[in-house]
């Protein structure tokens, strides 16, 4: 019963709505709202009223405008960076050590014999262009098969318009007819060495790669040829031909602890043959270093045995080393540094870290899983890096276009390395792909950098080592330890000392943080609203309420208007407008805004006798009974 009564009441209240007129509602709102401006509008005198009305409008529009700015700022996802520098116990970087020369010449000599004879003969021809030197008559005939695939030619540009191509081993001269990439680089009086590459369709489609220097041409040519030869050799054989850890790493000391070549992880690097990585962190925990200075770093003595270098392949001699993060692949061509033979190289390290926020603040990837390039370096169990992505991208393109993989990069499954026999046109395909700007752009666009970027800033200094005074005994001991012989088997040209240590400040971390968070946004919005109008979220809710109320009023008006229309149609009799209609709002007890204002009701009705008040109720336009059930039915 009670419940029913309650429900009916609720229904009535809903039906009734706010019961104000628009003006009433607005006045009520202005009077009772918590925002600061509106109250003034109704409380002040007419002039001030106007002023306050415009002020309130101005402030409200200012608030909305500035809210727009704030939200825009938030959506641009700015970041601020904080920098911290100092020393802390950190993981010692992984150190990759390689020889600049990939294979021992004594081991690969049988494979490269033909090639070497060829290049020697070619050089002989180039350097002494006058025929008749009987030196090569003694040697066995050259195998020109290799040569004919990619020959070296000379271009005589005495005559600018009509350059003459001169094959070194043949006497016939051909005028250039169909060269595609012929740009006359050399000056008119000079001879240029060029190595042409023809696609396998036939000799018509040829590209000449011009070199202004013969040294450069010979080196490039040799690299192309030897790549083709070595790619046929199985991996374990190539590892055997490279430098072995026990031959290369003569001494090792990490802090106070001795270490030896067994602490190094072997990895086969296509550029540099066998490389050895210290503290790679693949199997065991990475080493920490908690002290700065050379005393607590890694000290290495390496032997690069320069006599065993392949003469035409690598002209620079030394060790190639690189510091990198644990579990990342060393890209020595990009980030590696040289250490010179016969010197002691000291490398002070500062870890330069950059920590980024990722999407939507910056476009980076956490582990490379969202990059649309198959990471070929994952077969080494290494983490994603931008270099790995770029190389994988190139290799994927190469496999797609040329049908075989390049020797310098890891292979996708089911693909072989390129060589001259199976893929006669690969060199042409490779060099056109390599110089293609479009291909590079595709790779740059599809690869993303990692969010946590760690670089090792190095301060490199060098000194002669061993000194003249200590030379003898050092060589003696090292030779004895390695070869168990009392003869000195080492010399200045092969021996390198390395010190790698943390500097006094060993880290510099730049970390990003969002400049605008949602908390920032809310407090700024609140600040703006509060600053101009003293408002809060509740004020917004109030405003919303008022809008709902005015909607109600509209509905009620519409209903009563409809009803009035119906009744008017029913009764053409127009009722006179009564005073009560005008003063309805003020007399309606439900909506008396200020009971203390005006005249108190008690005094308004003096008790003195007089004419009895007219019974205004009789003025009612229609009998209440007629309306009652109607409205309840609504």
């Amino acid at each position: 019963m009670k419940l029913k009564k309650y429900l009916v009441r609720a229904l009535h209240r809903l039906q009734k709505g706010p019961g104000y007129t628009y003006k009433e509602l607005l006045v009520w709102y202005c009077d009772n709202t918590n925002t600061h401006g509106p109250k003034r509008i109704i409380k002040e005198g007419p002039k001030k009223k106007l002023m306050w009305f415009f002020l309130t409008l101005l402030f409200a529009s200012l608030v909305f405008w500035q809210w727009g700015i704030l939200i825009n700022t938030y959506l641009s996802y700015n970041v601020t960076s904080s920098l911290s520098i100092g020393f802390k116990t950190m993981k010692f970087p992984a150190v990759t050590v390689c020889n600049a020369n990939p294979f021992k010449y004594s081991e690969v000599k049988p494979l490269l014999r033909e090639l070497d004879r060829l290049i020697e003969a070619a050089l002989e021809r180039i350097l002494q262009p006058t025929p008749g030197n009987g030196s090569q008559d003694v040697s066995p005939p050259l195998d020109l098969e290799l040569w004919n695939q990619i020959p070296l030619v000379l271009i005589d540009e005495h005559d600018k318009d009509n350059p003459i191509i001169l094959d070194i081993f043949e006497t016939n001269q051909t005028a250039v007819g169909n060269d595609t990439a012929m740009d006359s680089t050399a000056s008119g009086s000079k001879l240029a060495a060029v190595c042409p590459q023809c696609s396998h369709q036939g000799s018509e489609n040829c590209t000449y790669r011009n070199f202004s220097s013969a040294a450069q041409a010979v080196t490039e040519w040799y690299i192309l040829q030897s790549t083709s030869i070595l790619s046929k050799v199985p991996l374990h054989e190539r590892i055997r031909m490279g430098y072995q850890a026990e031959d290369m790493i003569l001494a090792c000391l990490y802090g106070a602890e001795p270490c030896n070549y067994k602490n190094f992880t072997q990895i086969y690097h296509p550029d540099h043959g066998n490389c050895y990585i210290f503290n790679w962190g693949m199997d065991e925990e990475a080493l920490n270093s908690s002290n700065p200075g050379a005393e607590f770093g890694l000290k290495l003595i390496l032997d690069i045995s320069q006599q065993d270098y392949i003469p035409y392949l690598s002209s620079a001699a030394g060790a190639r080393l690189m510091l990198h993060q644990q579990k990342s692949f060393p890209f020595l061509k990009d980030q590696g540094i040289y250490a010179m033979a016969g010197t002691e190289t000291s490398i002070g390290v500062v870890v330069d870290e950059l920590e980024r926020m990722g999407y939507p603040y910056s476009d980076c990837t956490v582990n490379g899983s969202d990059v649309p390039v198959r990471n070929l370096y994952s077969q080494y169990n290494t983490s994603y890096s931008i270099q790995a992505c770029l190389r994988s991208c190139f290799q994927n393109h190469m496999v797609e276009i040329c049908g075989c993989g390049h020797y310098m990069f890891p292979l996708p499954e089911g693909v072989n390395y390129c060589n001259n026999e199976d893929n006669p046109g690969w060199a042409y395909c490779y060099s056109s792909l390599r110089s293609s700007i479009k291909q590079r752009q595709i790779c740059i666009d599809s690869c993303k950098e990692t969010c946590n970027d760690t670089q090792y800033k190095m301060t490199i200094s060098m000194a002669d080592w061993p000194s003249e005074a200590s030379e003898d005994w050092i060589f003696h001991i090292l030779s004895y330890e390695r070869d168990m012989s009392t003869n000195v088997t080492l010399d200045r040209n092969g021996i390198i000392k390395l010190n790698i240590y943390f500097q006094e400040y060993n880290y510099r971390t730049i970390s990003e943080s969002a400049a605008t968070t949602i908390v920032w946004l809310l407090s700024s919005l609140g600040g703006q609203f509060g600053f101009w109008m003293g408002g809060s979220v509740l004020c917004l809710i109030e405003f919303g309420e008022i809008i709902i109320d005015s909607l109600w009023i509209t509905i009620i008006h519409v209903i009563s208007w409809c009803k009035g229309l119906r009744q008017r149609r029913a009764r053409r009799l127009a009722a006179l407008p009564t005073v009560s209609e005008l003063v309805e709002a003020h007399t309606n007890l439900g909506f008396q805004p200020e009971p203390t204002g005006a005249v108190p009701r008690a005094r308004a009705l003096p008790p003195e006798p007089g004419t009895p008040p007219p019974n205004y109720d009789s003025l009612r336009v229609q009998p209440p009974a007629a309306l009652g059930p109607d409205s309840d039915a609504d």
Binding site: G19, H36, F59, N78, T80, S81, L123, L127, R209, A215, V218, Q306, Q307, D308, Y309, I310, P311, S315, A316, A317, F331, K333, D334, Q335, Y338, A339, L354, S362, Q387, L390, S435, R440, I460, E512, S523, S524, G527, Q528, G530, F531, W532, M533, I556, S560, K563, T578, H586, N588, L589, P595, G597, A598, V599, A604, L605, G610, P613, Q622, P624, S631
Partner: protein, 650 residues
């Protein structure tokens, strides 16, 4: 009759636009009214709370809140011009920087012979006199033929001296006569000078040509420094007289310097290099200078994709006194920047491969009012005598050169010429050396004001270099490499190159990450205002409206109340004087709410709302007002619920 319409108008005006002062008659009433009606919190508490202690507490709290607001807002204002730093790393195709390569030796010694033979003779003589050194057998160099001719008077003007510290006497190189040192003694490297046992110090004396008593003696702890400095002074004198075209011919040509060149997997040659004449380093060659409008870029990092050059150093042509080290100098810079190779160049060793890995960083600072830097250098009152974009180095050098031209009348040789000036030499400016040294002293001690005028540039590009060296050519490849390079050099040079004459250089991007460090304003006006709003709201729930209220109440209203009081007093006093001693029972001072002036427009009453005439004050009996409650119109809903009625009556 004439005044009647005027009065009417004013009365009407008064009625329609009543000019009324504050509603409260006294200041204290006004305050009370303000406190009760203001939107700010705290004030109301003061009025409402009972008990003296409580009221005091609330006054204190309100005042401290106001103080806090003022303090915090001041703090906010002071921190307005702060900047936040953001570091963005972008992986992209990078423009390759300009690489300027110079031989350390500026000019071919053999070609310079005709200009320098005099000077060299002098130097050798000095060496023999002071140290007993004579060139036994010239290894590579040509000996100077005639040894006995006397030196020219220029060298006699500024001779090398052997100074005995204790007796303060100097021995002249030529006459051998001793003379007393006058004037001040400048030690070029002073830390070693007072070591006591060094009895003889080498130096030279510079005198003001107009006033020979004004002399300065420059001494050096080591003869090596003294001779080099002395040689350089004379060398600059001589070089200043040679026109630029001749100097360019005397120096190395691009073919001389560059043996091979390789960029981004493609061959390049001297046409990719731009000549740039440096006063101290002779002809330098800039790769990728952007002169023909195109700037090369790299889209792959790594040593194969950068610049690889083999340089021919030609040690046989080195000037033995001017440069004592051999090799090349390179500098990596932006295309718009001037290469200050003598200041920040990197030296390249011969017989070695130097690999230089670059890392690109671009920085951008906010200019005024955030920090004191300049965007274009246009606001610096120093003329840029280099035709390159502004940098701090350029400004300092320009400033010094300007001071030099102003005070010495000629320009220093190592820097470009300002308009209308010429380089210093003995013939025209016999006094310049002394002047230069004095000026340089001032410059170093920051007395010229250059360091104060010059500001750093707001944005700059930086290439961080990681340099490492390997032996080159390797023992195994040395033979063929040298042979082929000799062939490259050309058949006319019919000798095999020596590996100490060669240097291999690789300049490449380590990675293509561009680090962009930029400062952004930490605050905008919007944020400042929101912070103000936050502070005002937190402590007092105040807003701009409250501020306007405060201005209105505390300044305008109280002022007008005070003025009104003063006016009334003055009026009373005036009336009193006019009426003389005629005492008149003055009307009781209308105070407070009785004051008709202060009858405020109350909340609309029934009568005012309807604009009915005000009720007459006459106590005549009349019809009582009708009971309007009964006049209720029928609304859509007849039944007034009791709870809403109650609400309405409140």
């Amino acid at each position: 009759a004439a005044t009647a319409p005027g009065k009417k108008i004013t009365a009407r005006l008064k009625r329609t636009l009543p000019v009324r002062g504050p509603q409260a008659p006294t200041v204290s009433e006004l305050m009370r009214w303000y406190c009760l009606n203001t939107n700010t919190h705290g004030c109301r508490r003061i009025v409402v709370s009972r008990g003296r202690l409580r009221r005091l507490l609330w006054i204190l709290l309100t005042l401290s809140a106001v103080g806090l607001i003022l303090w915090q807002c001041a703090e906010l204002l002071m921190n307005y011009y702060s900047a936040s730093v953001s570091v963005t790393v972008q992986f992209q195709k990078l423009p390759f920087p300009a690489v300027t390569i110079c031989n350390i030796n500026p000019y071919k010694y053999s070609a310079m012979k005709e200009y320098l033979s005099e000077l060299d003779k002098e130097t050798k003589k000095a060496l023999e006199t002071f140290y007993g050194f004579s060139e036994g057998k010239p290894k590579v160099r040509r000996s100077v033929d005639d040894w006995n001719s006397t030196g020219s008077d220029f060298f006699q003007q500024i001779p090398l001296l052997k100074v005995e510290e204790f007796s303060r006497t100097a021995t002249d190189l030529y006459s051998g006569q001793k003379r007393k040192i006058e004037g001040s003694v400048f030690h070029k490297d002073s830390s070693i000078v007072n070591s006591g046992d060094s009895s003889d110090i080498i130096g030279f004396q510079l005198c003001d040509a107009n006033n020979s008593s004004d002399c300065a003696l420059y001494t050096f702890s080591s003869g090596v420094n003294a001779i080099q400095e002395w040689y350089r002074l004379h060398y600059m004198n001589i070089m200043a007289q040679i026109p630029l075209e001749t100097k360019e011919k005397l120096s190395y040509s691009a073919e001389d310097l560059l043996l091979t060149c390789f960029f981004d997997g493609l061959s390049c040659d001297k046409r990719h290099f731009t000549r740039f004449h440096h006063p101290l380093h002779g002809n330098c060659y800039t790769f990728n200078s952007g002169e023909n409008g195109t700037i090369l870029s790299t889209s792959t990092g790594g040593s194969e994709y950068g610049l690889q050059v083999v340089l021919y150093i030609d040690e046989a042509e080195y000037n033995p006194f001017l440069v004592t080290s051999s090799g090349a100098k390179i500098i990596v810079h932006d295309q718009d920047e001037y290469p200050f190779i003598e200041d920040i160049g990197t030296e390249i060793e011969t017989a070695a491969a130097t690999s230089i890995g670059m890392h690109f960083t671009q920085s951008c600072k906010l200019s005024k009012p955030y920090s004191d830097c300049t965007e274009t250098g246009a606001d610096i009152p120093v003329e840029n005598i280099y035709n390159k974009s502004y940098s701090l180095q350029i400004c300092l050098h320009s400033c010094f050169q300007k001071a030099m031209v102003d005070s010495c009348g000629c320009a220093q040789y190592a820097q470009p010429l300002p308009a209308g000036a010429e380089y210093c030499n003995y013939k025209k400016n016999p006094n310049w050396m002394y002047c230069y040294y004095r000026l340089h002293e001032k410059f170093v001690k920051e007395q010229l004001g250059c360091q104060q005028i010059c500001k750093d540039a707001c944005s700059f590009k930086e290439w961080a270099l990681t340099t490492s060296i390997a032996q080159w050519p390797s023992v195994a490849s040395e033979d063929w490499m040298l042979r082929v390079l000799s062939w490259d050099k050309g058949q006319k040079l019919n000798k095999k190159l020596n590996k100490t004459d060669l240097a291999n250089l690789m300049v490449f991007y380590k990675d293509l990450n561009e680090r962009f460090i930029s400062e952004n304003p930490a605050n905008t006006l919007v944020i400042l205002l929101s912070n103000f709003g936050g502070q005002l709201g937190l402590w007092m729930s105040c807003s701009v409206v409250c501020v306007i209220e405060i201005v209105e109440v505390f300044f305008i209203d109280s002022l007008s109340i005070v003025l009104r009081h003063q006016w009334q007093r003055a009026k009373k006093w005036w009336h009193g004087r006019q009426r003389g001693k005629e005492p008149r029972a003055s009307e009781p001072q209308r105070q407070g709410h009785d004051n008709p002036v202060c009858i405020d427009e109350d909340l609309p009453t029934f009568t005012t709302a309807l604009r009915l005439p005000l009720p007459q004050d006459s106590p005549l009996p009349r019809t009582p007002p009708p009971n309007y409650s009964t006049l209720r119109l029928d609304t859509a809903f007849t039944e007034q619920l009791p709870d809403t009625l109650e609400l309405g009556q409140h």
